[in-house]
């Protein structure tokens, strides 16, 4: 029920941002922002009720619940960013992903696993939390990159009509935001991966199993590592950086959801193993 309310609020907020692209009513972005904030609150309540609540003895799904959490984080970070910056129009690019996330969470097979006490092990919680935060920042970076590429293309090809009509933030602002998202997301991802391998070492006495999810994670990490380094050291920016960020995010999706759906990874077997 709560998630429906959250979806409704997000939806209205998204619609508001889309209308912003055409109308200059100054109240619109504010209203849309509040819808997103209220939506995020409902969303958080929903997640608290179903996952983090201490008395809860239900199941946790690697796809649906995880996707829902990341969506919430994206919405929350966006709301924080858009509060005082003139980037509210980014909502037209970011919010649809949040909506997609929620839809995905309810459409994907639930395949829940019972919450075991082991789930509350600090290392695993840390591993999950860090990666979720990193993924949220990466998905923001992905949306921003898309807008950047769109805008840059219009400016380069001298399709100035469109470039001038689109009320998106300027290229430099977009690039700076993108830079920050990667700058923040990457350390979180690094910490999350280290915790993950650490946990594997603790529970299976072996940190590397050659599992597809592990391989993809490392690959994703490498993409962002390159981006992180090139941005800081060489001053990479703009188109190139945006394209790499998009590649990185595709790899995130593959790691995060793709593998879980199409393969028996140790994450899934891990849960079932614990069940026995």
């Amino acid at each position: 029920m709560l998630i429906v309310l959250a979806f409704l609020c997000y939806f209205l907020g998204t619609a508001g941002y889309f209308i912003c692209a055409y109308s200059r009513q100054p109240i619109l972005p504010v209203v849309a922002w509040w819808f997103v904030v209220v939506g995020a609150l409902f969303h958080a309540l929903d997640l608290l009720a179903s996952i983090f609540f201490p008395q809860y003895v239900g199941e946790f799904s690697l796809h649906s619940d995880a996707l829902s959490i990341v969506s919430l984080l994206v919405a929350a970070i966006f709301a924080l960013l858009a509060r005082h910056r003139p980037i509210s129009l980014m909502g037209t690019f970011i919010m649809p992903f949040v909506l997609l996330g929620i839809i995905g969470a309810s459409v994907l097979p639930f395949e829940g696993v019972p919450m075991r006490p082991i789930f509350r092990h600090g290392m695993i919680l840390f591993h999950i939390a860090m990666l979720f935060i990193a993924y949220a920042f990466f998905s923001l970076s992905f949306s921003i990159s898309l807008v950047y590429l769109l805008q840059e293309r219009k400016l380069k090809r001298k399709d100035l009509k469109t470039a001038m009509t689109l009320l998106f933030p300027s290229l430099e602002v977009l690039d700076r935001l993108n830079h920050r998202c990667v700058l923040i997301g990457f350390p979180f991802m690094t910490a999350g991966l280290i915790a993950g391998f650490g946990a594997a070492q603790v529970f299976w006495k072996k940190f590397w199993t050659g599992d597809p999810k592990e391989i993809l994670s490392i690959l994703t990490w490498c993409v962002y590592a390159i981006l992180f380094h090139q941005r800081l050291a060489l001053g990479w920016r703009g188109r190139k950086a945006s394209i790499v960020a998009i590649c990185g995010f595709i790899s995130v999706i593959a790691t995060f959801i793709g593998v879980n759906l199409y393969g028996e990874t140790h994450h899934v077997t891990f849960f079932h193993h614990q069940e026995k």
Partner: protein, 464 residues
């Protein structure tokens, strides 16, 4: 005859600039302004103000004798122009047309460059002057304040003023699409023609931090540098500046391109790929078009900018339609307010009668009951006030509702008979009272003002 709002005047479309100049000069002379004051004193105008800018001279008048007033103003304009003006140049708007016209003018819809913002300030100035000379009353006060809010609404809700319609402004707008803000951006000016100068001025006014000028003739460069507090570099050294500048404006008379792709490419790494925005307003072009192929480099020539401008003009026209819609809406709202003015005297008469009855009955009662304490008296006064207010509330709301109906005359008569109010529509007498009401908070709040103004005078206990 009812009060009419009139706009009589000439503008850039109806009269050539020589005539407008003469009229403006003529109006400033003593004679004419004395004539105007005389017209007002003779009761020709109830209220008036004059909007005079370089593109228009308009009289905004509230009067009951519109035909005479129009004739008088026509003569006045003609006289001011030294009899050069012909009467066809003068246009007249009456009633709602006048209201709509004022709204349109203030929103910049009637301006030479559509959507230009200065006109609003000029009208505000004219209104301020008129209030100082005390020539405006309740209707113009309300009308002008409404005009300002309509203009503001048009500005915020439509894009009429935010599209560049000149080359230099378009360049600044484009730069903002890339950099966001121009603050702390450095501008390099290559060639110091008039066009470049104008563009440089725009960039500086929009916050660019530093200007560097490179020109073949050093004198001209130095002259410009003084004006903008800029620095100059020798023409042959321009490529060295590419490392630090963000915007390049080029407008030399050179036949061959002076900036090539390789020149810029060499500096991009040193710039750490910070975006570089190049504007080439020279014909033939100064910058090799291939430069645009470089990452994070954006090159525009005069044709690109011209295209933007053409399209922006069209866009302004499209936004103007939205603005017209807003204006139509507000004109209707204002019309409704004007109509309530017609039922207003009856409402006041109703209130006055009730108030008189209340006060007479109160003083009768109090003279019979001398033992009442001050507090008791106060309570009783409060009570009577509340009763009168509540009893009158519905009839007043009824009147206000009927104000916009064509049958309002009938209802006014009916109410006057039911309450046995003094007949005769001495609107002027009532109108004279209105300014205090209207000026104080620009909202006719009859509830409080009528009570206060009358109760305050004859209240038997307030003096104690």
């Amino acid at each position: 005859m009812e009060d009419q709002i009139l706009v009589v005047g000439i503008n850039h479309r109806t009269a050539p600039v020589e005539i407008r100049e003469r009229v403006t000069a003529g109006l400033a002379t003593e004679d004419i302004s004395r004539n105007l004051d005389m017209l007002k004193r003779d009761g020709f105008f109830d209220e008036f103000m004059v909007v005079s800018t370089c593109n228009r001279i308009e009289f905004v008048v509230v009067s009951r004798e519109s035909a005479e007033v129009i004739k008088a103003i026509n003569n006045l304009l003609c006289e001011a122009s030294g009899r050069y003006l012909s009467y066809e140049m003068v246009y007249t708007h009456e009633g709602l047309d006048a209201v709509r016209h004022l709204f349109r003018v203030a929103s910049g819809l009637d301006s030479m460059v559509m959507g230009e913002p200065q006109i609003l300030g000029q009208i505000k100035g004219a209104y301020r002057e008129a209030t100082q000379r005390r020539t405006v009353g309740v209707i113009l006060n309300r009308l002008m304040h409404k005009t300002f809010s309509v203009a503001k609404r048009v500005r915020t809700e439509t894009g009429i003023g935010c599209r560049a319609v000149s080359v230099s402004y378009a360049a600044v707008e484009l730069a903002k699409k890339i950099f966001g803000s121009l603050r702390d951006k450095r501008v390099l000016l290559i060639g110091a023609g008039e066009m470049a100068e104008l563009a440089a001025e725009h960039f500086m006014r929009n916050g660019a931090s530093h200007l560097i000028i490179a020109n073949r003739t050093v004198e001209r460069a130095i002259e410009l540098a003084k004006r903008f507090r800029a620095s100059t570099i020798p023409f042959s050294h321009i490529s060295n500046a590419f490392e630090t500048v963000d915007v390049v404006l080029s407008s030399t008379g050179s036949v061959n391109p002076i900036i090539k792709k390789e020149d810029i490419k060499a500096f991009m790494r040193k710039r750490r790929y910070r975006p570089l925005f190049l504007i080439d307003i020279a014909v033939p072009r100064d910058i090799d078009p291939k430069v645009n192929e470089l990452d994070n480099v954006y090159l525009y020539d005069i044709d690109d900018l011209q295209e933007v401008i053409e399209w922006n003009k069209e866009e302004r026209r499209r936004e103007a339609e939205k603005a017209e819609h807003i204006i139509e809406e507000e004109t209707i709202k204002f019309h409704r307010w004007l109509q309530t003015l017609d039922v207003f005297p009856t409402i006041i008469a109703m209130r006055r009668k009730a108030e008189e009855i209340r006060l007479t009955e109160l003083s009768k009662t109090f003279s019979h009951l001398p033992h009442l304490s001050e507090d008791d008296k106060k309570a009783i006064i409060k009570l009577t006030e509340a009763i009168v207010k509540k009893v009158l509330h519905d009839p007043i709301m009824f009147m206000k509702r009927k104000a916009s109906r064509p049958s309002k005359e009938f209802y006014v008569d009916l109410v006057q008979q039911v309450f046995n109010l003094p007949m005769g529509d001495d609107r002027r007498a009532h109108n004279l009272k209105l300014p205090e009401v209207g000026c104080s908070n620009l909202r006719i709040d009859t509830n409080t003002t009528a009570m206060a103004s009358e109760g305050g005078n004859i209240h038997p206990f307030k003096k104690d």
